[in-house]
């Protein structure tokens, strides 16, 4: 259970062996004999209720909290007793409250680890600019600003950039997006996944939010109270085959809905919909709609981007001289291929004709997604997850 079959071929970057933390004066161990393997280049999310030891576990990896017993093996090397300061310079660290140094500029903050590592000025400066660009913060604008001149979301971006300063192989993130409003959090999560697709770090990510865990994690370690590992698996497997009642309860209701966060609009073929160009005459548009099975037309502009919806009533009301440009309703429910099915569903519930328009990167209409397609997608996901769960059952004696 501690390692998913599909990951066995990849190299283990962090191995925790019988890791234990005991705080003096407490009866139970905060972390108790934990074994955990984290593969190179994957995001492992530690999730669980408060007091489950997830944060303690993460902080023992860079020894901000010193383990009482057990071993930490980083890339094959036992680092349980090595110099902690040297170790930490190899491990990026992002915390919820950002912890930016308020008396230093953004540039100085990001340069912290390069300076500790003794890089020369030109290399450090180049690295700072590279990282600021990577987190979408223009170095020319932000390099000389101070943290308090930044919004919460911008500060957290700098927190990530600073953690990547010394180009560490491992990144520890302690509820990095926890204190940020939901809209900004969503954007930061997406941005971070994009950055990760470029840098491919091994990431240990702590959160108490199962939705965030499902979105961010390649694998999720669900902790029970008392630092027991309840399940360690891919989000798909955890949602489909929770190991026990605790996991099922922790995922909560709507596991199927949560699964919609794991597949993307781009994974399914959009359905065609009767479409006319804005330059089409009203009479032609009426003719097209009369021959179609659907109850409205999508009007697209010269570049093929959705321009409006027109209903039969609107076509009838329009005089012969008027153009399609002037009538109809602006479409609201539009998604890109990178949007999740959950986003698409969300859009189409509120949409006029119970479909979501799918556009490509240039905004060109690709087709529509309706509730049937989303439903089919859930059904096939469930089927394949069940097959996978059955296969792993058969593999054990």
């Amino acid at each position: 259970m501690t390692s998913a079959d599909s990951h066995e071929t990849r190299q283990v970057m962090i191995r925790l062996e019988k890791l234990t933390k005991h705080y003096p004066g407490q009866q139970r161990n905060a972390v108790d004999g934990l074994d955990l393997d984290i593969n190179e280049g994957e995001i492992v999310v530690l999730v669980g209720p408060s007091g489950c030891g997830k944060t303690t576990t993460m902080k023992m990896i860079n020894r901000i909290i010193e383990p009482t017993s057990g071993r930490i093996i980083l890339n094959g090397e036992d680092v349980t007793r090595t110099d902690a300061d040297q170790l930490r310079r190899r491990i990026g660290y992002v915390i919820q409250q950002t912890g930016l140094f308020p008396h230093m500029t953004i540039g100085e903050n990001v340069a912290t680890v390069p300076k500790l590592l003794g890089w020369d000025k030109s290399r450090t400066d180049a690295r700072v600019d590279e990282l600021l660009n990577m987190v979408n913060m223009d170095p020319e604008i932000f390099r000389h600003r101070y943290p308090k001149q930044l919004s919460g979301g911008q500060q957290q971006r700098i927190g990530v950039a600073r953690a990547l300063g010394g180009d560490p192989t491992v990144l520890l993130m302690d509820e990095p997006f926890g204190a940020i409003d939901p809209i900004t959090r969503d954007r930061l999560q997406n941005e971070f996944l994009r950055v990760q697709s470029e840098v491919r770090k091994t990431i240990v990510f702590v959160t108490h939010d199962i939705d965030e865990a499902i979105k961010m994690g390649d694998r999720i370690a669900i902790f029970k109270e008392g630092s027991q590992l309840a399940q360690y698996d891919t989000p798909e497997q955890i949602l489909t085959a929770p190991a026990d009642d605790f996991v099922a309860e922790f995922i909560g209701r709507g596991a199927s809905l949560k699964r919609l966060n794991l597949s993307y609009v781009g994974d399914i073929d959009p359905r065609p919909w009767p479409t006319v160009s804005v330059s089409t005459s009203i009479a032609e548009a009426r003719e097209t709609l009369r021959n179609a099975a659907e109850s409205a037309l999508i009007v697209v502009d010269e570049a093929g981007r959705p321009h409006s919806w027109v209903s039969p009533e609107e076509l009838n009301r329009a005089g012969e001289g008027s153009s399609l440009k002037e009538i109809g309703q602006t479409p609201r429910a539009i998604v890109e291929p990178r949007a999740t099915l959950s986003d698409a569903l969300n859009e189409l519930i509120a949409a006029r004709y119970a479909v979501t328009l799918v556009v490509d990167d240039t905004g060109k209409l690709q087709g529509v997604v309706d509730i049937e397609q989303i439903n089919d997608s859930i059904r096939s996901m469930r089927a394949s997850a069940v097959t996978e769960a059955r296969a792993s059952l058969g593999g054990e004696p």
Binding site: I64, R89, G99, H103
Partner: protein
Amino acid sequence: MSTQAPHLKTANQETGVAGSRGLSQYLVMPVVLGIALLALYVYVSLQELDSIEERSLNAARLTRAVWEHIQLTAVSTLLTLLIAIPLGILLTRPFTRRIRPYIVTVLTVLQAVPTIAILVLLAVAFLFLGFAAAIVGLVLYAIVPVLLNTMVGLEQVDDAVLEAGRGMGMSRTTVLQKIELPLAIPVMLAGIRTALVINVGTAALVTYINAGGLGDIIVAGLSTNRIVVQIVGAALTAILALLIDYIAGLIEDLLRPRGL
């Protein structure tokens, strides 16, 4: 008072300018003090001075008194800083957590004893007089504000900032030098300024143990019942105190880290 300083944030945060006051505001105090000195000079010039008054109010005597006063203030404040700041740093390190409350209590009680009592005690009990005795008395009294503000300044540094520093591989010493002390500076400076003002005021009392300063002039005026002499002594003490406080304010504005 000591905890006020962190809230006194600069008005020009957006542009990152360190100063909280415009240039014209910086000029107000020196101009006022200059006018006060001039008025004092004119006032004394218009008086018919008798021989006793002339013996107290001549340039050589006044310059010496002012210079002694400055020396008393400077040496006592410097010694205070040398003792209180390292002590404050030590008392905020984890390994002194247990003895911290006792030491703070003892020092706070010490501060409740008036300096004049300490001076008299030193003189009567130990026959300890003069400049050195005065310095001991002044330092004992001024340690507490500097120590407490150093501790408050260091303790109010956000734990998340310290954890971030340690988490990126800074040593404890580096964290102290690069993060804790710079962030504690505004509060520490407020304490140092308080100590300076206490010292410049209390130094007027050390004349009683024969340690000089502007107190000499005031006491000379009192013992000979010469109002003009008393006024000159008191006015010079006040002007010197305001001047030193003004300079301390300038230093505070200069040393306050940008970005706070």
